[in-house]
C-alpha cells in the first residue's frame, strides 16, 4: 500500500513575523495626541467650575445637554473613495434615511462633524484625506467603512494602499464588511452616536464601547 506524503500546510502567521503590524504599533506609540488647540482656556474654566463644591452638577448637566445636541446632528462630509461609497449613498438615500438620525450629508468639510472613510485609501490619496480631515472643525469624528479602510483589505499586500486609514487619521468606529451593507453602516452610525453621548472633552477619545470593544 502506497503511503501518501502529508499535504504541506501553510503555517499560521506569527505576530512577530508580520513586519507591517510591528511598524503600525510603533507608529501609534509615536503619534502625538492631536486635539482642539483653541479650547484650552475653555477647559480651564470648566475645570474650575467642576472643582468648585457642587459645580459638578452644572458641568455634567451641561455635558449631557451638549452631547445630546452633538449626537443629534452629526453631519457627515460627503466623501466617497471607492465602492463602499455606493453603499454609503444608499444609506443616505430615502430607503435607509439617515436624516431621521439627524444626519445630513454635507458637501463641505468646514461644516461637518463626521468623516466616513468609505473605501480604499491609496498612498497618493492619503495626504488629501488628511487635509480634508484637518479642515473639519473640532469636535470631529471619523468612521472607517469597509475592509480596505480598516486594514487595507484585499490590497493589504499591494504596493500602493495605506494599510488601514488609522495610520492617517484617528478613527472612532470601524465598520467591517466588503462592502458593508447599509444596515451595517447604520449600526456603526448608531454606535458612534452612543460614543458621542459619553464624549467628555475635545481631543480625547471616548470611553470604550462595551458593545464592541
Amino acid at each position: 500500500m502506497e503511503i501518501k506524503p502529508p499535504v504541506p500546510q501553510i503555517p499560521a502567521p506569527v505576530w512577530k513575523d508580520i513586519k507591517d503590524l510591528q511598524e503600525w504599533q510603533e507608529l501609534h506609540k509615536s503619534r502625538p495626541a492631536t486635539g482642539d488647540k483653541h479650547s484650552s482656556l475653555f477647559e480651564q474654566v470648566t475645570d474650575g467650575i467642576h472643582a468648585f463644591p457642587g459645580g459638578f452638577a452644572v458641568t455634567t448637566v451641561a455635558d449631557n445637554f451638549l452631547n445630546w445636541a452633538r449626537k443629534s446632528s452629526v453631519w457627515p462630509v460627503s466623501f466617497g473613495l471607492a465602492c463602499c461609497a455606493i453603499e454609503m449613498m444608499a444609506t443616505f438615500a430615502s430607503r435607509f434615511d439617515v436624516e431621521r438620525l439627524g444626519m445630513v450629508p454635507w458637501a463641505s468639510p468646514r461644516h461637518s462633524d463626521l468623516m466616513i472613510v468609505s473605501g480604499t485609501v491609496t498612498i497618493k490619496m492619503a495626504p488629501m484625506l488628511q487635509r480634508i480631515y484637518d479642515q473639519m472643525p473640532d469636535p470631529k469624528w471619523a468612521l472607517s467603512m469597509g475592509s480596505c479602510a480598516n486594514s487595507g483589505g484585499p490590497f493589504r499586500h499591494g504596493y500602493h494602499v495605506v494599510k488601514g486609514v488609522d495610520r492617517v487619521i484617528p478613527v472612532d468606529v470601524y465598520v467591517p464588511g466588503c462592502p458593508p451593507p447599509p444596515e451595517s453602516l447604520l449600526n456603526g452610525l448608531l454606535l458612534l452616536q452612543e460614543q458621542i453621548s459619553t464624549f467628555r472633552r475635545t481631543g480625547r477619545r471616548a470611553a470604550p464601547n462595551e458593545k464592541v470593544d
Binding site: E23, W24, I123, A126, V168
Partner: protein, 150 residues
C-alpha cells in the same frame, strides 16, 4: 488586408520572426527596429487602433515590451513583442507612430522603469512623482515602506 497577407508581408522583413498559430498575429521584433516595424504595420497592414502597451518582467532574461494593435476594418490584430535583453531598460518610443502610445508608455515607465527613447513627456502617470522604485518589477519588494503612511 487578410490575415494570411499580413503574415506574408511581415515575414519578409529581416530580423522579424512571425510566430505560428491562430490569430492574433504575434511578431517578435528586435528592440531597435520596434518603431520602424510599428510604422510599417500602421501604414501597410492598416492597424490604426493602438489597443495597449505593456511589459513583462522575465527576471534573468530582462524585460519584454508587448504592444497590441488592431486593424478594425479587416479584423486583423498584431501583437508586437520586443525583448530588451538582460539589464537593459531602454526602448524606442512608439509615441511618434501612435499617439495613443503616449500615456501607455508613461504607465509602462511608471510600473516597469522602461525608458522610452524619443517620448515627448516621460514621467510618472499613476504613482506620485516622488515614488521610489517601479512596483511591477519582480525585484520590487511588496512590503517596501512608503513613509509616512506605509
Amino acid at each position: 488586408m487578410t490575415y494570411d497577407r499580413a503574415r506574408e508581408l511581415l515575414s519578409q522583413i529581416t530580423g522579424v520572426t512571425v510566430a505560428d498559430g491562430a490569430p492574433p498575429l504575434t511578431v517578435q521584433v528586435p528592440a531597435e527596429q520596434l518603431a520602424a516595424v510599428a510604422a510599417f504595420i500602421k501604414e501597410t497592414i492598416g492597424c490604426g487602433f493602438f489597443a495597449f502597451l505593456t511589459a513583462i518582467d522575465l527576471k534573468a532574461d530582462g524585460l519584454e515590451v508587448v504592444a497590441f494593435v488592431d486593424n478594425l476594418e479587416d479584423g486583423v490584430s498584431v501583437v508586437l513583442r520586443a525583448k530588451l535583453g538582460a539589464g537593459n531598460t531602454s526602448c524606442p518610443s512608439l509615441a511618434a507612430v501612435y499617439r495613443g502610445a503616449n500615456w501607455m508608455e508613461r504607465e509602462c515607465y511608471d510600473m516597469f522603469g522602461i525608458r522610452f527613447e524619443g517620448h515627448p513627456d516621460l514621467r510618472r502617470i499613476l504613482l506620485a512623482d516622488d515614488w521610489e522604485g517601479h512596483p511591477l518589477l519582480k525585484s520590487y519588494a511588496v512590503d517596501t515602506p512608503h513613509p509616512p503612511f506605509r
